[in-house]
Amino acid sequence: MSGKLFRNFSFLSATLSFFLLVGIFAILFTYAQEAMQEFGFDFLLSETWEADEDDEGGIFGGYIPIIGTLLSTLIAMTLAVPLAMGIAIFLTEIASDTIGKPVSIAIELLAAIPSIIYGMWGLFYFAPIVQSVFGGNGVGLLTAGMVLAIMVIPFMAAISRDAMNTTPLVLKESAYAMGATKFEVIKDVIMPYSKGGIIGSIILSLGRALGETMAVAFLIGSVMSIPGSITDPTTSIPVLLANNFAEAQDLEMSSMYFLALILFVVSFIIISVAKFYFLGRKVK
């Protein structure tokens, strides 16, 4: 009796997640219809985001927030990947326990800090530093990208470290026994062996950086303009959605659903690819 109940309950929970996914997609798709029919493919290339005076229509294009999202994520990943790999390699292969353990714990705690805290810290403390070093207003693409990098590094480093730690000891020893140096063992044995986990960590971090709202809303400037230089303010998809949702109506609302749909599809593809890599490793 209780076995049957449990079975039905777990079946319901499992199917619920599937229906949620399909349901969210369907709703985004339905509400985005108006904008899709009005603007079509040009939505991706149009730089204007302006409501008419009566708030009923207007011209809306997603080019700027899409570019802002992609560029801030690109900056974040360019900075984060090498640093996170360095941390992971240091923790698995170089650090002694006395240094490695505290650093490991610190990394895990950093990964748990809520994004709003990164946003506040970034705006009040970090942005002025960026301004004094690189010029510009303080807030803008570069600041947002750098803080995004700081946010995803702990996550990426922790997963990569775990992946590298799965390299069997005897495999490393047999590379040393062939006369390999530490660097060669890292490059030829550890990295290829943990490749799946490392790529997975990068892709999951990429997904997180693409969708990050709170910290980026503080730091990117929230201005509807194409950034002329790396320090210029602009906007991103999640930031534009968060800022405009309260007042938007009709076509603008539909355009925002269209943007949300684009972000959803991109994130979905990225997570699927990550999943594929993780699964690919388990099958082996």
Partner: protein, 263 residues
């Protein structure tokens, strides 16, 4: 016995693991003779693997271990070098190119069959492609795995069977033309058929180089080796020709162990 040349010589060697109070090996004296197979037998925890792992300084991947005594490696010209004096990474690399090691489990690297065998050669500076190809073919032939692999050199080494992987690891070690190969229970993870192939291979290899093998399998020691060392609780209990050890051991302890009364 007097005619046989030494390739390595362990003298008054003691070893203490990092953090341990008591040494794991005490005052070991053991010769390794050229072109001979020396087997090390003894119950688990007697220190056979510990001794083997000292002979290519693989212990030094982990800090804090203590050595005493000497382990001499004889060069072609008869001069000797105490490998316990080595300090620099470069010297360890040179040592490990001369003293290869095969582990309990096959350890193919996550790369192609060809690259596995070429790995050590590339590390030691061979870049020329046709030269590499020649050496790889020779090593695979020496390890009796050429026929099975010649049509799939570019495929991943992880696709080979366990026994093939272990022979590939031997090929990889042989490719460097070492003077000694240390085998640490090389067949303990393999089926009887693959074990037979490896044993045949080891016997074949002693024409070219010298071999030290740790084994739990008494029959394997008696089949393969020319000399046998029996170790017990960190001491070398008895060392002699394999025939003497198995047919007429000097110590009661040795006899009890090889007849299976303990261990």
């Amino acid at each position: 016995m007097a005619k046989d040349k030494l390739v390595m010589e362990i003298k008054d060697f003691s070893f203490t693991y990092s953090g341990a109070e008591e040494p794991s090996l005490r005052k070991i004296n053991l010769p390794v003779l050229k072109n001979k197979i020396t087997a090390m037998i003894g119950p688990s925890g007697c220190g056979k693997s510990t001794l083997l792992r000292a002979m290519n300084r693989i212990h030094d991947l982990y800090p804090g271990n203590k050595y005493e005594g000497k382990i001499n490696l004889y060069k072609e010209d008869g001069t000797k070098e105490n490998i316990l004096d080595l300090k620099k990474e470069n010297d360890f690399i040179k040592l490990r190119q001369q003293v290869g090691m095969i582990f309990q489990k096959p350890t193919p690297f996550p790369m192609s069959i060809f690259d596995n065998v070429a790995y050590g050669l590339r590390l030691s500076g061979t870049k020329n492609k046709s030269e590499l190809e020649g050496h790889v073919e020779k090593a695979l032939k020496d390890a009796a795995i050429w026929k099975e692999t010649k049509d799939r050199l570019k495929e991943s080494a992880l696709g080979l069977s366990g026994g093939q992987q272990q022979r590939l690891c031997i090929a990889r070690a042989v490719a460097l033309k070492p003077r000694v190969i240390l085998f640490d229970e090389p067949t303990s993870a393999l089926d009887p058929l693959s074990t037979g192939a490896i044993e045949e291979l080891i016997t074949e290899l002693k024409k070219e180089l010298s071999i030290m093998i740790v084994t739990h399998n008494m029959q394997q020691a008696s089949r393969l080796s020319d000399y046998t060392a029996f170790m017990y609780l960190g001491d070398l209990a008895e060392y002699n020709t394999t025939e003497k050890i198995f047919l007429n051991p000097e110590k009661k302890l040795t006899e009890d162990y090889i007849t299976g009364r303990f261990g």
